[in-house]
Symmetry: C2
Subunit: 345 residues, 2 copies
DNA sequence: TTGAAAGCGCTAACAT
DNA sequence: ATGTTAGCGCTTTCAA
């Protein structure tokens, strides 16, 4: 049998209340008594049961973190930020992997509620569950923060990076280097790619550069190892065609890595003959030769920010009425994959 | 106020016992009663409180997972394996990041015990805590499985990959390709590097190849982004010296990536002029050009295996006496960074 | 097939 | 400064 507060009380010859008091250090206890109790605790190797504590206090000091994938390089970075902040506040994290299934996402939320978490943060929430009102409803039940995946008009707490500004900055940088014939590489389906493409098109128009359809490159899967090879092949094909671009904007670093490999394959020099800019600044952007110039999504900060926001909501307990949308700035990280355009169109 | 089982009972006009029975589906309940209760549950949007349940049952269906780092590419893969197995068994994971601090590791264990987890798996446990007997003592208190970090004579449940065999296989492969002048690249301190170096030295001796001290390359930090650049510089220096090796064995894929970058920097062709073999098969091994030949540590399986082993221990409840040591085989993954030696010493 | 009642280990009034 | 006691929300005998 596990030792309980009662065993400790007996051992120290005091009441369980007193033991509780030295445990929580929230009421005056005579020094000598405290010593006795502490000795008993040590002797019995007593560990308080936080289930019982949580049951009464209605506070568990746990939060749930839901991610679409553990192995994606982006999410662990965010989780780290959350853990960094929450850990300091004595919270422990539940981690749930949805494998990008809306169904699993809902199920995990259910389990977390059963476990009486003090709050939930969902990184990259599924569109389906945002649109259906699932998260709006959840917001009324439990402190909730969504990281990225922002949709207009959805009444939830959000924290996100300003991908529009980031795209703008990347494109401006390329243009400042003299590039006019710029390709755009994206994956299918995901909302943030749409946003980026829209901005790409707009900027090209504003600069009076006709957008060639051949310069919009779309691969099926945007966020995995396979993405690298898909991107590589796609870029090779484009580079071999007429009027090859002098630069490429990639919607994330996986794609940009593929672009670097494409150039290497063709003997095209990066950045002298071909400039490549990525997005996210995940760890692989520092692994290539040359190292990738990219837009930093500051994932660690995103995590910290999510945690801070969640803490606010938990403390606030207002539930509704005081929803927040926090937008973090992106940052251009200049490394070695971009240079002045060597030729003009 | 949250709705409780009592509210449901009132709504359905039955006793809480009956509600509990339909919740757990463990005693006969008349169909019509069940319907009533289910309707009440739905109407009140009732979620059972698993703290209360855990308090009674002495079973929480939670397990703690402790990792030295979230962002290391190796650990998330293992965690995914654990989650895959545990998730199917209705478990939820607590995730704890120790930042490689023995002190944090101990503190997290303490918190997990308070939370009454049914078991704990520690991935890459800190040597300090293994040697001090901390984990041996813990084994007597709670179901515990250690992933890697095996030390002889330590009475804990272990699961690990056979790194000795893996090293052997890698070296044999290199030799079969005709390489005799082989370099060895490692980081400091970590036990598994010691094991690998020992084998390297032994094999060289067995093959009557004098081990040149210049061929043992040691960098300070073996397991982070910085490792790539450190390795790159280290390999460049070696390759520029007398009698350069025709192949290199790298203790992990970060180092191997650095080696590839070194070759690229020097204009040395991989694999034609220089063969590189890595270890682990983390995701970056598929990103480089050429793709890395490496030894697969089957991290996902490692995680699954750990989960299965933990489940056994939890069910078994024998606590001691029945400790297990599970060893997984590694696998040589032939990709494109190794080829027949172009010259001999 | 159902219900009453005794806790699980702890906290927090309320006494003393 | 310390102790008594009533629960927190649930499961599980035991009885009906």
């Amino acid at each position: 049998m596990k030792t309980t507060i009662e065993d400790v009380a007996k051992e120290a010859q005091v009441s369980i209340t007193t033991v509780s008091r030295v445990l929580n250090n929230n009421y005056p206890v005579k020094e000598s008594t405290r010593k006795k109790v502490e000795k008993a605790i040590a002797k019995l190797n007593f560990t308080p049961n936080s289930l019982a504590r949580g049951l009464i206090r209605k506070r568990t000091y746990t939060v749930g973190v839901i991610v679409p994938s553990m192995t994606n390089l982006f999410f662990p970075e965010v989780v780290k930020g959350i853990e960094d902040c929450m850990g300091q506040n004595e919270y422990t994290l539940f981690l749930c992997d949805t494998k990008s299934e809306p169904e699993y996402e809902r199920r995990h939320v259910g389990r977390l509620k059963e476990r009486q978490v003090d709050g939930i943060v969902v990184i990259g929430p599924m569109s389906e569950n945002i649109r259906s009102g699932f998260f709006e409803a959840l917001t009324k039940e439990v402190p909730l923060v969504l990281v990225n995946g922002y949709h207009r008009g959805v009444r939830c707490n959000f924290i996100l990076t300003d991908e529009e500004m980031g795209t703008l900055e990347a494109l401006a940088y390329l243009q400042a280097l003299g590039h006019r014939n710029i390709a755009f590489l994206r994956g299918e389906q995901i909302y943030s790619y749409d946003v980026k493409e829209e901005i790409f098109t707009r900027i090209m128009k504003q600069s009076n550069i006709p957008v060639m359809q051949e310069n919009i490159l779309v691969i099926p899967e945007g966020n995995s190892v396979e993405t690298v090879d898909m991107s590589r092949d796609m870029v090779i094909r484009r580079l071999e065609k007429e009027n090859p671009p002098t630069a490429i904007f990639c919607c994330n670093d996986w794609m940009a890595t593929g672009a670097i490999n494409a150039a290497k394959h063709l003997g095209v020099r990066v950045p002298e003959d071909f400039s490549i800019i990525g997005f996210d600044n995940i760890v692989i952007s520092q692994l290539s030769e040359p190292k990738l110039t990219t837009i930093d999504q500051t994932m660690f900060k995103l995590g910290q920010g999510a945690a801070e926001l969640l803490l606010e909501v938990i403390e606030g307990k207002k539930g509704e009425g005081s929803l927040k949308k926090v937008i973090l700035e992106t940052k251009l990280v200049k490394r070695n994959s971009c240079a002045v355009a060597s030729r003009t169109v």
